[in-house]
Amino acid sequence: MSQASAIPSPRDPAPPIAANVRYKSRSQRKMIDMGFVAVCVTSASLSIIILLYLLASIARQALGVNFETNSFKNVLFSSAFSLTLISLIVLMIAGFGLLFGKRSRSRLITVAVAATLLVLGLLATVSIVKGESTYIYLTKTFLTEPHSYKPRNAGMYPAIIGSVFVCAVCAATAIPIGVGTAILLEEFKPKNNKLRRVQSFVQLNITNLAGVPSIVYGTLGLTAFVYMFGLFGTVNEPLLEIGSSKSGFYFRLPFGRGVLAAGLTLMLVVQPIIIVASQEALRAVPDSLRQGALALGATRWQTVWNITLPASIPGIMTGSILAMSRAIGEAAPILVVSAIGYIALPPQNLMGKFTVMPLQIFNWASEAKHEYHNVAAAGIVVLLAELLTFNAVAVFVRQKFTKQLS
């Protein structure tokens, strides 16, 4: 910056304004400002409308109303549904405010208005849908039945159980390893220069891993977990088998196209997310706490275990829950690892054949029969409901357990 020398001394005359520069008048500039606000609001509302339209159209198909372009009812339905959703969101936020914040009258009024709008929107949605629906696909049996060759009988029970299995494996492996890495990177910073370089390399590596497409992890899982590099024989003739494939306990090498291989593959996918979230949580713990513990004679691990980790648990939990919700929605790596269309039974053991919710939805959506698209929409509603629950839990954890530390 060589501007210090260019500053004119106070006695110099003001620099001449170049003749060919046209300055905008004040009103012109104000107009531009207002115009930009209009552009902003338009683009923001465009994004919101697109997303609400997405949700509305999926809900519509789940209720058996098939898509029609250029129909007045379509527009009407979307707006009614948007109204419902917006009021639901306002209701949730105002409700949270009432529960955790100051109880003020304006909040009560907001809740009342939002509730009224919600009821109106729901009524409008239902009344519009009712006339056209061919069959409501989102039923109770949808949650308890397997896939069927009759679209109206199809359900996603094996997929739900499969998702639970796979996510359990993923959580059990990804969270300890991810949190361990985060602790190493944040709490045991080396003083030595060479080690410090190693550490920043590991950090850069994690950034890179976060950017690797999930389908590449899928091909990695296929080689490393399903076939195990061909070191232990083939999938059909495994080298090592413990237990029987029909019972609840069964282990073998190589893992084959089973729950364990898929869970470990997903672990690779979500691990960078957990590491970065945990690092942020640990970084938010004020240094004074650590120094206090160290001054009392605690070792570094005792400091971490008794002071830092308890203080950062809300952040780590929130990050882990969000990572798990990512894992539930991941279809591409599972598709590479499992490669199975439809199965009738949930997995029996860790090596068992399985399918997960997003994969089931993908299979239904790629069917040629149009009824299966309705079934897929119903599956999406279930999946999104589960994800929303996860997110709500994460928000709740963050709100409830975060303490002011400094």
Binding site: V37, I89, G211, G218, T219, F362, S366, N391
Partner: protein, 316 residues
Amino acid sequence: MSQSPLGLPSLPPIGLNRSSGLRRARETVVIGTLICCGLFSLLTTVTIIVVLTKETASFFGRDEVTVLDFITGTEWNPLLGNEKHFGIWPLICGTMLITVIAMGLALPLGLITAIWLSEYAHPTLRAVVKPVLEVLAGIPTVVFGFFALTVITPNLKWLHEGFGVYNAMSAGLAVGIMTLPIVTSLTEDALRAVPKSLREASYGVGATRFETSIKVVVPAALSGIVAAFLLAIARAVGETMIVALAAGSTAQLTINPQDSVQPMTGFIVQMVKGDVSNFDIEYYSLYAVAATLFIMTFLLTVVGHKIRVRFRQEYQ
């Protein structure tokens, strides 16, 4: 417990678990475990590179294909016909076309929304919108794929007859909608990191809010914005389920958004869905495509990181 000469109870004896030797041993074990955790992420990268390199090498070891054909070829039909062609460009072209369409939607919309959120919107509104964006960024991509197939495509067909059942436009728009929350959220973070003093100085010399945002805040946050954009591009390049559902499976060299295209990820999905026998050339071509994909996203991530580090402006 014995009484000390002063009549006070003495301190409890220092137990075994408090001996400094054991403490140190435990410390070593714990640090060793943690280092293993840290090495695991390095191991993951090494394994990805080794697996992709090895399988790609055995792909090029076959007689049917040479490295030169793979890099320069403009025809990709590994499954049909007697004469198999393995030229990567149709797949890269498909990926590019979809990425360009997606970014044409997501980057301008995301940037403008982010500026509005960070510079104009009321703090309460921002506090509401931000978590909603995070939730939207977590919607599984298969949902957007379904949306593209059953809603965007019929709408496009209604607008113009030329759109096929599978087309690049529909998939590209869906990918754009998917990356929109990511772009908005990350760009907003970058804009918010610009210190308030810069804005106040700008207002102080009489600038409007528009002039402050465009001429002061955006240039100051440019490195963060570019990094966010590159991350979004990497996501779009690696996006799988949307293109597998909506883009079709004809690998062709085209820039017409009404045509069906097959991006690299789409080919991998087609490969693993079909019954390809394990050690045929088609199977190995999957790894060659995955390696190309990995290299592309890796370069994007590295460039993004470099830009962020190199052009970061430090403010007090």
